[in-house]
Amino acid sequence: MNIQDYTVSRSTRAARVALVVTALLLVILFLAPWWAGRADMRLMGELFLYLALASLWNLMAGYAGLVSVGQQAYVGFGGYMLFASTIFLGINPLVAIVFAGFLAALVSVPVAILMFRLRGAYFAIGTWVVAEVFRLCFAQVSSLGGGSGTSLPVGIVKSLASERAMREALSYWLALGAAVIVIAAVYLFLRSRQGLALTAIRDNELAAGSLGIDIWRNKFIVYVVTSALTAMVGALIFLQKLRITPDAAFSVYDWTAFVIFIVVIGGIGTIEGPIIGTLVFFALRETLADLGTVYLIVLGFVAIVIMLRAPRGIWGLVRSRYDLEFFPLSYRVHLKAAKGQDGN
């Protein structure tokens, strides 16, 4: 054995295949306005937005260990900022989405400084309380309809595109774009030096700290960035809905409980997990939607079974059987001469 004969790589054959398949899939999805019906496009758009929310929550909870049950604060904040900045400031809705993200980043700074004093369950409860405070504050703003909410004026909706079909296509593309950008950003971030540090924090904070990783700073950056992106997704969600109320905007069920369900059953602390979880969630929802409340009971049952049988989610179960990775983050040490073969 000679060290010089070995090299390190980060790509696998499965990942290269996955990349090609993903690229093809994205082209097909991009062309959806030409092949899918209106209802299907709405559904897929919603799926992409949930995928983005789940990927962001997974980065924050699964990697940075910040188990927040208050991210609806930023979904709602983003939605309200979209409405406020388009109605009062006359900003173009697309620009307003970015603006909402910027404002959310600013707001998340003092929230983080306050909340990071709390640990574990206290942090979770604290973030929920903050979200409730956000909801109560926005319910007080009478120019945005107070407790009963407001609709996006027709003029602003028309400024996106004058035709309805074009607006629906645009809103679908924005949702698709949000999911792709979020997943790509999470992937590139986790592959970077900072991402390696974050993965270390996920596994062991004591060791991470003594190996030079500033834990507070890393968590802070993740919190601010995920909050800003969550607000942008929130703005997109309410740009689709065209109507906002405090209860819908800051719903803990819609924007946190379902998101946690998705991440936990898919596989927390992996990039693939939220993708699988979102597909499972929508499959269940679409097949069981007619059953009313029974649907929620089934969701709870599925969550309990998966947590008991596969604590690391569906993707965790797959990974424990097969050495598979579609988003290659790991380093492999292998022989230089080995052709198309991963050495051990």
Binding site: M1, I3, Y6, V8, R193, L196, A197, T199, A200, R202, D203, N204, L206, A207, A208, G209, S210, L211, G212, I213, D214, I215, G269, S330, Y331, R332, V333, H334, N344
Partner: protein, 243 residues
């Protein structure tokens, strides 16, 4: 002392009535290999926690490389060259052995790309973990986890290396190979403080010995002379001095 890399000055720390450091004062010379012995619960690991910043002292100061680091974070102290192995191994369980090493090389030593990878491969070979490079750290045996602790500490390119009971549970052959590894590390210019119950391994390496009990330094000096002193026999080995 002429060129002290580490100075502990009147360091104290108590958990309620239990004093884990009680007026602890000593210097470590650059390039020295210092051994620490003492009974269980004497405050040896707590002393490492204080030096690395995992614990904050109630009083006293710690100076490393001419800078007062008493109020610095453990991450900062890692950057300036203090690395440790944990007595109870703390692997990044869902990452591979190689990735564990990469954390130290990139985050602590601040290396990039090929430089970091080459360092990790070389250290893994030195510590004998190279065949396990692609294995998840969570699936290692206890002895392998201890070697991983040493690997990570070395990949941090430390000036001061704190070793906390890494020889326990080894066979004689493994222990000798470990002693040789630590001698090599020492010979490369790294200052070492080593807490160890396997005394013969410790004595093969260290230049000086400090005995700690109840958070206090109770003896210090040339290793063999210290081991022979009645005080050490009484407190450390549990043998009555008068018998």
């Amino acid at each position: 002392m002429m060129d002290a890399i580490l100075k502990l000055d009147d360091l104290s720390k108590a958990f309620g009535a239990v004093k884990v450091a009680d007026g602890l004062t000593y210097d470590v010379t650059r390039g020295e290999a210092l051994g620490i012995i003492g009974p269980n619960g004497a405050g040896k690991t707590s002393m490492f926690n204080l030096i690395t910043g995992t614990l904050r002292p109630d009083g006293g100061s710690i100076t490393f490389d001419g800078t007062d680091v008493t109020s610095q974070s453990s991450a900062r102290r890692s950057h300036v060259g203090i690395a440790r192995s944990f007595q109870v191994p703390q692997p990044f369980a869902h990452m591979t052995v190689f990735e564990n090493a990469m954390i130290a090389a990139t985050q602590s030593a601040g290396l990039h790309g090929d430089e970091a990878e080459t360092l990790c491969l070389n250290v893994l070979e030195q510590t004998g973990l190279f065949p396990k490079a692609n294995v998840l750290a969570g699936s290692l045996t206890l002895l392998e986890r201890k070697r991983l602790e040493l690997t990570r500490a070395l990949c941090a390119k430390p000036k001061l290396l704190l070793l906390d009971e890494i020889a326990g549970g080894m066979t004689e052959a493994e222990c000798q190979s470990l002693v040789q590894t630590i001698k090599d590390i020492h010979a490369s210019g790294v200052t070492i403080i080593w807490i160890e119950h396997v005394v013969h391994a410790l004595l093969a390496v260290v230049d000086r010995l400090i005995v700690i009990d109840f958070g206090r330094k109770i003896a210090e000096g040339e290793p063999r002379a210290i081991m022979e002193s009645p005080q050490v026999k009484e407190i450390y080995l549990g043998i009555e001095a008068d018998v």
